[in-house]
Symmetry: D2
Subunit: 459 residues, 4 copies
């Protein structure tokens, strides 16, 4: 999802937790788990560990390999821990303060919390907390939730959490850890993903199943929408089923997740191949080669090529070395033709009828840039095939897409967009076709239809 990954545009995070009966050094396992989830967040990361009752942690801005070192693992010893990688959503500053897990003291000790999602009534909850003189230090929904839990001084933390989950509205998957248990919770609609795995005899929770592969573990099952599981010395049990209606995020499944993950019973890779094939069936056209916009369009393009029998080829080479501190070219240099991330494989494009497949069009700026590069390289014809319907509505539940003003499809017909980006044809997959390809699972399709699983709050 190239177009969506600009900083501050996606409210995406990855969470990972493990409870081990035997090992006292789970922090490095969490590290590899987070590393497998790095595509879900590159702004900051953190790990909290239960070191025999004392919750120690380390978190900072940066990628997991930048934030953690051998020294830190020597310090972060314990049998249980949770980790987090995050994008900064648009309403969060990218500061050290806005990193997770959040670690807090409460009446009976301490707990740590890692969160992926978007709470639509977080402002309301913030106001309530302020009234009771709670000073919040960050922009994090996670900090709000942690403080509500701490305020809800119930008999035990499970009750406090359950009470809190009844107060928060939105999409989420969250992990909570005390000195003797690990809890995982998924929102009542299952908008956000959360999976259960095993590593030997130990239980593991992760946003995506690819994290289990990374640590040599096995996928067990998805946590159900609304389910809250508690893992401790006695094993795992479901302590609450807050189920509403199954409405997983369609975008999450088809566009965000790593293609080697399984989510709610589906292979992401296979789903994308099928979507690509459906796109080919709906919009077959004569062409010399099929190429994918890197990296988001690649798998769809392979499916498209398979179905259409038109050869798949690499149309562009992506430079893999762009880091967070990379100096972007000025507008002037850009106009002089400085190209840093992508280069066209002229050999493949020149004089060819090119079918360019991408996953979606949000603002329209990226696809325009890609098309321009293909034109310069001498493409004879360019046919753009988009593996999703037009994105017509902004999302407040996690995708954090731009306002309607900035969604090109909310303001232009496909034909106008075709003209604007200057291609020979442009086709958006139909919603029916999309659902046909991946099977309807009750998905929240709000960004395409305006009808959301959860309505927007005053955030």
């Amino acid at each position: 999802m190239g177009r969506l990954t600009r900083k501050g545009e996606v409210n995406l995070s990855g969470v990972f937790g493990i409870f081990s009966k035997n090992s006292n050094s789970v922090s490095q396992i969490i590290y590899y788990g987070l590393f497998a989830l790095q595509h879900r967040g590159q702004i900051s990361c953190g790990i909290a560990i239960n070191n025999n009752g004392f919750l120690d942690y380390h978190k900072d801005l940066g990628l997991v390999h930048e934030v953690f070192s051998k020294d830190i693992f020597d310090r972060l010893r314990g049998n249980m821990g949770i980790g987090h990688v995050k994008y900064a959503s648009s309403h969060e500053e990218q500061t050290q303060t806005n990193t997770e897990p959040v670690v807090m003291g409460y009446k009976k000790g301490a707990f740590a919390l890692a969160f992926d999602g978007s709470i639509v009534n977080s402002n309301e909850l913030r106001d309530k907390l302020k009234e009771s003189n709670t000073v919040l230090q960050s922009d994090l929904d996670a900090e709000v939730i942690a403080n509500v839990i701490a305020k809800n001084q119930c008999a035990d933390l499970e009750d406090a959490l359950n009470k809190t989950l009844n107060e928060i509205i939105g999409s989420y998957s969250l992990l909570l850890m005390t000195n003797d248990m690990l809890i995982g919770a998924r929102d009542p609609n299952g908008l956000k993903p959360l999976s259960l795995g095993k590593l030997g005899d130990d239980y593991v929770l992760a946003s995506e199943s690819c994290a289990f592969d990374a640590i040599g573990g096995d996928f067990v099952r998805d946590i159900e929408p609304g389910e809250v599981v508690l893992i401790n010395d006695n094993g795992i049990k479901t302590i609450s089923k807050n189920f509403s209606e199954r409405r997983p995020c369609l975008f999450e499944l088809v566009y965000f997740a790593r293609s080697d993950s399984f989510m709610d019973g589906k292979s992401i890779y296979r789903s994308r191949i099928e979507v690509g094939k459906q796109l080919a069936r709906e919009s077959q056209i004569d062409g010399d080669i099929v190429i994918g916009a890197p990296d988001s369009g690649i798998v769809f393009a392979i499916g498209y090529a398979e179905e259409s029998k038109i050869p798949y080829a690499e149309g562009m080479i992506k430079n893999r070395y762009v880091g967070r501190t990379f100096i972007q070219p000025s507008q002037e240099l850009r106009e002089q033709g400085v190209r840093i991330k992508l280069n066209v494989l002229k050999e493949n494009i020149e004089g060819k009828k090119v079918i360019l497949v991408d996953d979606s069009i949000v603002r329209g700026t990226t696809i325009k840039r890609t098309v321009d590069m293909l034109r310069e390289a001498g493409a004879k014809e360019i046919h753009v095939r988009i593996a999703s319907p037009p994105v017509l509505y902004p999302c407040h539940l996690g995708m954090d897409t731009p306002s309607k003003d900035n969604l090109i499809s909310a303001n232009m017909e496909a034909e106008e967009i075709r003209e604007l980006i200057g291609v020979d044809s442009l086709y958006f997959l139909t919603l029916e076709g999309l659902l046909k390809a991946i099977g309807n699972n009750g998905f929240c399709k709000g960004c395409f239809t305006g009808e959301y699983a959860v309505e927007e709050g005053k955030k």
Copy 2:
């Protein structure tokens, strides 16, 4: 070329230089050029600038986006400059001292030097320099050459360089800059690549043509084997033709270069596709899917699939976030199944007859690991196809391949290797097939045949 890129195993570097008549801020252009050449070296980088007669520079260990910042470009102002990215070859420590360009004072001022290659008589030259009391501070061939130039106190620097080039034996492409000219030189056999490009009216030199694309420039021509070009206010002229026999490195062309580069008249991408096709023709076998070992086998696999009509698929997902400071799993964790860089797309592999294409086998350890992962994922059959002949001889001219003891093909027959790595079939492309696919250009084929363009020195 996954298997060769371990630090210290490849003596590869990238060089980039520009002489501008008008611009006074070429340093950022060099930055983007080096960024496009980052695949040629990730240990260190540097830029030297001619700021109106004063040679300023900045260089350090790290990737270009790590080493350079806006502040540094504000400082590095000038109309002419050279840059360098490097791997540390096996005989160089990875220290700040071993970074390039080398900047030196000599009788008439200062010059900067950036170097890609391997000097076989460098030890001999070092000894001579020591005899004349020169204190060398680094392990760099570049420093040796710079000091020989400085010692050769000729009428002018061009003569000193020419005299020096007659003294050094090996593979190289080098850039040298004083306060009024930029010189580029390629070794007499053209073992190392060097291309000439233009950016508007300004001349540019780079190890690979992809760097010209990156800055919005155009490829003009390859520098000829043995050619020395001088660029100054009067334009460009060839000041020396030290031509021997054209013997470009076969590995460089087919395996090292970026696939969007052109080298000695050939498209790298197209060459690889043709090699993949030839491999398919030589070793056709029944299979369900063709996959490439990431990333080195991908293009060959696409070619193989095209020729064999067996569908191309992604077999493994590569995690793109591994950085220099990444903590590798211990042997114990590795045995427990921790997989960090690659994950198999089980969906594609399970129950399938898989044709796995890779560029080469050097030690044999990487292919074994890849095959094991495919087995675990449930591949029904695995057929390995290698897009090069067996590597039988170590290279002293730049590839810096391991000693014969560590070259698996120097010690085992193909059938033995097949058994060791546990696959259903294994095939190496024939040298004839390779040359047929890419056209014979006089290549140095030393690693396959033991006959080198330049014999080994006492290095």
Copy 3:
């Protein structure tokens, strides 16, 4: 105590703790307290805070102004906390791991520990812990003590601490904090200092009273030898009196402490002045000026001058900017006369009969260097007056002085030393004179007499 402050030579630390009823931001107060105690340790520092039940902390190598920043204080919020500054003693590596406070989990939660002192049976305790499979990560006595406390699973932490204090032998003052109390303990002989202060209504504990001045607080009293005090919401109470024999360290009082501190009822400054006067009475000699060796001899010199009526003058200027990363001159440069920390005020020295006062002679190297500088500057006569008796025995209780081989007075008579350092006269204060000047308080005088308050263990 210039001569003793070389890294690894003094086992000195500073501790500071505060329990506040109202404030939720004590971390900055601790910062200023530690800053006032910085002379007691410059290798590392740290602060642990009770944030509403959750013990958060930050510690690292470096001075307090280097280790702490505004960001960290925003994070370290809480009503109670302890801090630590330390020298690395000779048996500790200077690593991040060897920093305090030590924070640990135990059966009922977490606690933090900060320690100043030397446990003579620490090796024995280490062995016991290892037998029960405790993995120790540092060289710290504090970690040993913390683990013994955690093992001593008594009804409550107070009991566990008391039981532990009965097991450890040596010199110490230590602070221990849980989520609802702050404990301070001083060894049964009072070898190490610990003071109680108030800041408004809140109680404060510190190694030296100067820390109370720094935060605008007031000195209340010394913690008694063997006393353990507990501070919580109910105020302060003495929970244990483990008193043995009052044997405070004579060196601590007279040479280590900051001159503006009060310790066991005595003003450090006034004590030093009196010692200087006594020295003058014992060894009166004709001279033009009295100078102190910077900085350790200054106050003694002022006292000497006052008593002898010979004018006090500054004889040397100390460069205040030497930092931890300062590059020391090579032996060669030293011999060429490179002087970095001190410069003689020639104007004051040339042609003069100089009385040079210093606090002690340990190895003899520093006094020699100082004398040489005065000679070069043209001193006519140099008379050295030492404000302590000869140091004849190494100390295992905190001073961590060198072995007997390296103690010059253990190997040479005063006259031999005089000759060696090349001065006109040399005089050591008598032990009687020293005690007469400061009043006998039962002091441990082991370094002068060989009789220690606590005998050496197998450390």
Copy 4:
């Protein structure tokens, strides 16, 4: 001069240069020289070296021990070099860009420049440079001068420098280095100091003679006002005498310089003792002790005590560990009594008639703070004695004192100040007394009289 050293308030720098005939490693010598001059500037520092024709350099914000490391000295090899330490004056941002030496290319090569002083017509020169399209990157007068030199394309650099010195008006001492010579220049009035020394056979230039002591060298003589000396292989010669009227800065001599330096023939220490004695003669009063405000008043106080026969004592202890990143207490904490840099020695002050000597009063805030602390500590009487006349006028020539509005003596009579700071008596030394004590050397006394050696420009 405690009161003047706040960042941005003093336009002070230190310069150091060496030309060696034999050594090829002068950079470490420069390091020790700069270290001795660190009191003249703590914001940034830098060294430029002539490495056999190539001018290499390193400079950054920070103290010399923070900015330089062994690695950098391995790189900065050469026989000749200059160094710089600086305060940021009020019109300079504290950025990496505003560091010296400035290194520049010009028609015939490169040169480096280090500067101490204040150019009153720098804005005018800046405007001229801008007209000729010179882009200036810093706020530095040094960069302006360097560019004017480069523009003045004379037959040789000496002429260009001389021409430039005729264009610049102000106070300065500057060092300029090319690949074959080192030049030192002092302004026509000798407002800024510059001394010549020798290290073996090699010549050294430094702002103050204490730098020669630090490197084991010898003071030779002061550079004369308006003198320009050139040092090269042929030795030293005076190439220009641009002498005007000798008007050295009175403040520089008496208050800024290190007390172990000699300046224009005078010992700084001895001068200050004499001033202190004169102050005692002018304002004798009955008292129990004489104390100096740390550190600026100490030597004056020693002189005062000597003359008055009232015992000198330490009244306050200064904490030596405040670093650049130290977190200052908030106003609230300050009011609660948090004292970080200074602590009163109560023992010495309580119940005493205290004579407090300081060098000057500028804003009046510091002396007020000091007096308050003495009062709190129980001083019976406080008598302030100031070792300079009232500062009535701001200085544009280096002291960079605040505007008249902020000079307390420009707005209040002594009696009003006495009342404001709340002391029993206050006395300022007379100008006559000051000159009598140190001998009249034509000093610029502008800050006391309003008559400056050089009139203010439009800076």
